[in-house]
Symmetry: C2
Subunit: 281 residues, 2 copies
């Protein structure tokens, strides 16, 4: 039996398209509908077989869907959630794939009310690429995925959504929206902040000497500025917190270098290496 | 005809070993001798065929070599240069592969005196790995390589060394030691500083959610702390300069996020992306 009769994916870019491809590959749904305003996106999604059908018609796309996935930038989630709930089947699951949760989930739960069951999803499987043309069913393999749980979360929907993401290959963690943003600020927002600013610090001359270190550390600075502007502003407080933590560490290293304190410099680098080595690649 | 009759490589780790492999693959030398204090390194270098012979005997290893390459951490270059020059053939070329130049090259030139011709080399082809076991002849393919030129540089030796690195696959740039350190501080020291401090800012909890962004930005934080401590202290002023540039940019972004200035945040990210996209991968 299929996990869902019909899944509607709103926004068929990199993540939306990859979900479509993975759902179809694993045969988790009777039907996958892609909803997008842009004709070019709908055409590409169909061409890449990321969806069974693609439509501009929000109402038609969402009608009868058991699962509606908002695969859009964080700035558009709430307005599209409002629009989606109107047309959703009672009791269906509504989720998103955004990187910010504490400023989205409580509002989205209110919007869903008693009609739909909203649960936030965050597959940590992004890329600096956009567009369904870079989509792949494989990006979820072993990717961490966070589901948000609050006192309003419907347990049955949570179980079903957990099964869904697991079948797509994700390692699912269930935590509160606040906990999510706190962890994401260190594991995702901060690496992006630092990567963008590292790229911004380069000169025309210096990039000619770019080797592995500069290439790797700035890879995600190629990410979509509009998308990340949205996350940095929506989760401003958390982003500033993580910048604070980073700046504190950088200041300590700076001071140690200034006073030629070999022992401290080495201690910082050794501790950093130990943490990095603990991350599975 | 071979480019060199005999090449002596002092230190057969990742870079030294890779040079040996590449020289042997391209048949650039009649003989490649590896010199290392550690028996295990000598054994591994022989096993991986990175050298033709390996010896503990500095004098014997260097004797009659046309090219002596100091493939050791920056902190050991000057003392080993002093030791090497004593046993070198008159007129032979002495080079290093270190990441710091302005505090090494003038001293090394003095040490070489009229006996040997010292030229600094910096192949920007490192890795977070050490040891000859990770060595590969391919790491020089298309890698930027800087040769230092000063008023004391012997033109014939410079031409020969340029040919050597080019035949190994490097894109060779010839600049002054000062220019090198200025560029390396942005293209190499700063990415390492930032990567180490980004890793140091993580918690046990946050690393469980490490996705591509954190993994890529912190990859070089797995590098050898001893090696990078040496570079950060030897090139302290340059490292502090680049940290200053980075901190200034970070402060600007921080302030823009604080005042919810969407336009400025987007402008910073767009500019950063443009710079990153200009780097060939």
């Amino acid at each position: 039996m299929k996990l869902f009769k019909k899944i509607a994916i709103i926004g068929v870019g990199l993540i939306g398209g990859s979900i479509g491809l993975a759902v179809k590959k694993k045969r988790l749904a009777g039907e996958v509908v892609g909803v997008s305003r842009r004709e070019s996106s709908r055409k590409k999604a169909l061409k890449f077989k990321a969806v069974d059908t693609a439509t501009l018609d929000f109402e038609k796309g969402i009608q009868d869907a058991d699962l509606v996935i908002l695969a859009v930038p964080v700035g558009n989630i709430l307005s599209l959630a409002r629009k989606a709930v109107k047309h959703m089947k009672k009791g269906a699951i509504l989720t998103d794939v955004g990187s910010s949760k504490e400023n989205i989930v409580p509002e989205a739960e209110k919007v869903a009310g008693k009609k739909a069951n909203f649960i936030g999803s965050h597959p940590m499987a992004g890329s600096d690429k956009r567009s369904v043309m870079n989509a792949s069913h494989g990006i979820f393999n072993n990717a961490p995925l966070i589901l948000t749980k609050t006192k309003y979360t419907d347990p049955r929907s949570l179980r079903k959504l957990k099964t869904f993401w697991r079948m797509l290959g994700c390692r699912v963690f269930i935590i509160s929206p606040e906990k999510h943003d706190k962890l994401a600020s260190l594991a995702s927002y901060l690496p992006h902040v630092v990567s963008f600013m590292l790229a911004l610090s380069q000169t025309k001359d210096s990039v000619r000497f770019a080797a592995g270190s500069l290439k790797d550390t700035t890879r995600v600075a190629s990410s979509d500025p509009e998308l990340w502007k949205g996350i940095f502003l929506l989760s401003g407080r958390r982003v500033l917190d993580s910048i604070g933590t980073f700046t504190k560490n950088l200041k300590l290293l700076e001071k140690a270098i200034k006073r030629k304190d070999e022992k401290s410099v080495k201690k910082f680098l050794e501790k950093a290496k130990k943490i990095r080595d603990s991350i599975k690649t």
